[in-house]
C-alpha cells in the first residue's frame, strides 16, 4: 500500500516534469501577447505570422522532403542491415558491421556531423539537400536496424522454411512471408527514422548548403535571437502532428492486439 502511494507520487511528478514545459509551450502559442509572462488573451496571430513567414515555410517543406526521403532509404537499408545482423552471423568483419550499427546510436552528433561533412568536402560534393538526406539516412538506418532486428530475432524461421519446402523460391519467400510479418516493425522503424530526421539540428547544420535550410536550423537561428511566439506556433503544430501519428499508430496496434485476443478466444471456444 505504501508502495502504491509512493509509485503514484513518483509517476505524477515525473510525468508533470515531462509534460508541463511542452504544455506551457503549446498554451503560449495562443497568447496574444509577445511577452511570455503576460497572458494577453487567446489569439491565432502567431499561426498567421508563421504561415506568412516564407522562410519558415520553405524550411518546413525542405524538412518534410528530407524526412520522407531519408526515412524511406533508411528503412530499406536498416531492414537489410537487420537481416545481415540476424541471418548472416558468419560474414567476415561482422564485428565491424555491428559496431557501425550500434555506434551511431550513442555517437555525439557533433562528431557524426563533422566527419560526414569532411567526407563530402574531400569527395568534392556540393553540400545541400542530398547531403542532408544521406547524413540523416546514415544515422537513422541504425535505429531502423535495431527495431527490425529485435523483431527478426523472435521471427519463426520455420515459416520461411515451410514456404521454401512448398516450392517458393527464396526471394519470393521474403516478399510473401517474411516482409508481411515483420512489416509492423519496419513501419515503426520508418516512423522513428522520420521523426529523427525531423528533429535533427546538429548533423543537418554541418551538412546542409544553400537552399537546404531545414526547420530545426531555422528554429535554432530564431531561438538564438530570443523567444518568439511564432516558434511556439510551429512547435505546437509539430507536436500535434507527431502526437497524432504516434497515437494513431498505437491505436492501430491496440486494435490488432484486441482482434488477435478475440481470435484466440474464439479458437478456445472451438
Amino acid at each position: 500500500m505504501k508502495n502504491a502511494r509512493f509509485d503514484a507520487t513518483v509517476l505524477t511528478l515525473g510525468f508533470a516534469f515531462l509534460y508541463i514545459p511542452i504544455l506551457i509551450l503549446v498554451i503560449y502559442s495562443f497568447n496574444a501577447s509577445r511577452l511570455v509572462t503576460v497572458w494577453g488573451g487567446f489569439s491565432l496571430v502567431w499561426y498567421q505570422q508563421m504561415w506568412s513567414n516564407q522562410g519558415l515555410m520553405d524550411a518546413a517543406w525542405v524538412t518534410a522532403r528530407v524526412a520522407l526521403l531519408s526515412a524511406t532509404i533508411a528503412t530499406i537499408l536498416g531492414t537489410l542491415a537487420a537481416l545481415t545482423l540476424v541471418r548472416f552471423r558468419k560474414i567476415p568483419g561482422r564485428l565491424l558491421f555491428s559496431g557501425m550499427i550500434y555506434a551511431p546510436l550513442v555517437m555525439p552528433e557533433v562528431i557524426t556531423g563533422l566527419s560526414l561533412l569532411l567526407l563530402f568536402v574531400s569527395l568534392n560534393v556540393d553540400r545541400g539537400f542530398w547531403t542532408v538526406v544521406i547524413a540523416h539516412t546514415t544515422f537513422s538506418m541504425c535505429y531502423v536496424a535495431i527495431v527490425v532486428q529485435s523483431r527478426l530475432l523472435t521471427f519463426d524461421r520455420s515459416l520461411e522454411e515451410a514456404a521454401l519446402d512448398l516450392g517458393c523460391p527464396p526471394v519470393k519467400t521474403f516478399f510473401r512471408i517474411t516482409l508481411p510479418l515483420i512489416l509492423p516493425a519496419v513501419l515503426a522503424g520508418w516512423m522513428l527514422a522520420f521523426t529523427l530526421s525531423l528533429d535533427d539540428l546538429v548533423i543537418a547544420n554541418f551538412n546542409t548548403g544553400p537552399g537546404a535550410t531545414t526547420l530545426p536550423i531555422k528554429i535554432y537561428s530564431q531561438v538564438r535571437l530570443g523567444v518568439t511566439p511564432e516558434i511556439n506556433a510551429i512547435c505546437t503544430i509539430l507536436i500535434g502532428l507527431v502526437a497524432i501519428g504516434v497515437i494513431a499508430a498505437s491505436l492501430a496496434t491496440k486494435r490488432n492486439e484486441l482482434r488477435r485476443q478475440r481470435d484466440e478466444h474464439a479458437a478456445a471456444q472451438g
Binding site: 515459416l159 521454401l164 519446402d165 512448398l166 516450392g167 527464396p170 488477435r260 481470435d263 484466440e264 472451438g270
Partner: protein
C-alpha cells in the same frame, strides 16, 4: 479418414526382400556443424510406401537427417538418393518432399485455405485445380467449415490438421513429419497417431517421421531407426526393437528394462544349453545365440513384465532366481511396478498386472520375495 481401432499391421516388409530397390537412400552421410558432428557416416534405406520413424533423444541427429532430405541442410559428406537420383545441390523448393513442421509453421497472415493453396500456387497450377485440391484436402482433414479462418482462430488440434493438409496438398513423394504431434495433449495425440497411419495407408505415400516419443514411433511406423549421437543404433520393426534390442542403449531407451552387468561363463549356442552368465554371484541362463565368448563382459536385459514375483521360492533357485525384499511399489493403475532389493543390494524391477483389486494385493513393503524368470525371458547384450 476411415474409422479405425488401431494401426492395421499390414503385410509389408520390402526390407526383407533383397530384390526391392530403396526409395530413399542415405549413403555414408556425415554432417558437421563446426566442430560438432550431428550425423556420422550414416547409411539408411527407406522403401516406397513405408512409414519410417527416426527415434532418439534431442541432439541425436534425427532432425538434421530429416532436414538434409528436405534440403535445408547439405550433407558434409555422403549423398542422398531419392529414387536413385542424387539430391545434392537441389534446393528445398525444388525437392519432391514436403514437410510438416514441429511448430506447424502456418502462415499467420493467410487463411487456412490460402495456407493449403500456397504450395500449389508455386507450381502455377490452374486456379480451378487449386481450388479443387484445397477442397479435397480440407475434406480429408475435416476442416471444410474453417477454410476462411486465420491460424490464430484455430485450436491446436485444428492447426495440426491444417499443417498436415498443407504438406499433403502437393502430393509429395515423401512426407516429412517433424515431431508432428508434440504440441498436442496426450489423448488427442493418441487419436491422431491412428489417423496418421490410416492416412498413410490410404494415400500410399512414404512417410518419414522424427520423434523422441517411443510410444508414438511404435504406434505409427513400419520400421524404426533408433539414433544416438549421430549414429543409428538399430533399424527394425517396433516389435523387434522392443523384444530384441541389439544394445544396452536401445534396450534402455525403449520402454522399462532391468539391465544386469555380468560376464559369460559358457556359451554353447541356443540349441545346446545357451549362454551362462555370472553377474556378481547371480547365475543367469539364456537360450540365445550370442557372438561373445567366455569371459566377455556383457549385459543381461529383461523387461519388468517378464520378471515373475512370488513369496514362495521357485523350483530352481540356482539360476535365474534371486531373493530379496519389496523396496518400493509403484501403483500405475493397470499394473504395479515392484522394486525388489536383492540381498546383494541390486534392485530388480518387476511388473505385475493388477488382475485383482488393489485391496487384495498380497505383497507389501518389506515382504521377503523371490524374483525369477525363464531362460527365454531376457537377452544378452554385447553392446
Amino acid at each position: 479418414m476411415a474409422k479405425s481401432l488401431g494401426p492395421v499391421k499390414r503385410k509389408f516388409s520390402p526390407w526383407t526382400d533383397p530384390t526391392s530397390v530403396p526409395f530413399i537412400r542415405f549413403e555414408n552421410i556425415t554432417k558437421r556443424f563446426g566442430n560438432f558432428t550431428a550425423v556420422e557416416n550414416l547409411t539408411l534405406d527407406i522403401y516406397e510406401r513405408e512409414f519410417f520413424a527416426l527415434l532418439g533423444p534431442s541432439g541425436c541427429g534425427k532432425t538434421t537427417l530429416m532436414r538434409m532430405l528436405a534440403g535445408f541442410e547439405e550433407p558434409t559428406e555422403g549423398r542422398i538418393l531419392l529414387q536413385g537420383k542424387d539430391l545434392a545441390g537441389v534446393p528445398p523448393y525444388r525437392r519432391p518432399t514436403n514437410m510438416m513442421f514441429q511448430s506447424y509453421a502456418l502462415f499467420p497472415h493467410m487463411t487456412v485455405e490460402k495456407n493449403i493453396a500456397f504450395g500449389l500456387e508455386q507450381d502455377k497450377l490452374p486456379k480451378a485445380e487449386i481450388a479443387a485440391r484445397v477442397e479435397e484436402m480440407l475434406k480429408l482433414v475435416k476442416l471444410e467449415q474453417f477454410a476462411k479462418r486465420k491460424p490464430s482462430q484455430l485450436s491446436g488440434g485444428q492447426r495440426q490438421r491444417v499443417a498436415l493438409a498443407r504438406s499433403l496438398a502437393k502430393r509429395p513423394k515423401v512426407l516429412l513429419l517433424d515431431e508432428p504431434l508434440g504440441a498436442l495433449d496426450k489423448k488427442l495425440r493418441e487419436e491422431t497417431q491412428f489417423e496418421l497411419t490410416d492416412l498413410q495407408h490410404t494415400l500410399g505415400l512414404t512417410f518419414l517421421i522424427v520423434t523422441h516419443d517411443q510410444e508414438e514411433a511404435m504406434t505409427v511406423s513400419d520400421r524404426i531407426a533408433v539414433m544416438d549421437k549421430g549414429v543409428i543404433m538399430q533399424v527394425a520393426t517396433p516389435a523387434e526393437i522392443y523384444e530384441a534390442p541389439n544394445s544396452r542403449y536401445v534396450a534402455d531407451f525403449i520402454g522399462d528394462i532391468n539391465i544386469i552387468e555380468g560376464a559369460i561363463v559358457s556359451n554353447s549356442g541356443a540349441a545346446s544349453g545357451g549362454v551362462m552368465l555370472d553377474c556378481d554371484g547371480l547365475k543367469i541362463a539364456v537360450d540365445q545365440e550370442c557372438p561373445a565368448s567366455t569371459g566377455d563382459r556383457v549385459a543381461y536385459a529383461i523387461r519388468p513384465e517378464k520378471v515373475r514375483l512370488g513369496i514362495e521360492p521357485p523350483a530352481d533357485t540356482a539360476v535365474n532366481a534371486a531373493a530379496g525384499e519389496v523396496y518400493d511399489i509403484g501403483y500405475l493403475g493397470d499394473f504395479s511396478l515392484f522394486l525388489v532389493k536383492l540381498d546383494d543390494g541390486r534392485i530388480i524391477r518387476a511388473a505385475q498386472a493388477n488382475i485383482q483389486r488393489l485391496v487384495d494385493r498380497p505383497l507389501t513393503f518389506g515382504d521377503r520375495v523371490w524374483v525369477h524368470w525363464s531362460r527365454d525371458a531376457g537377452l544378452v547384450l554385447t553392446r
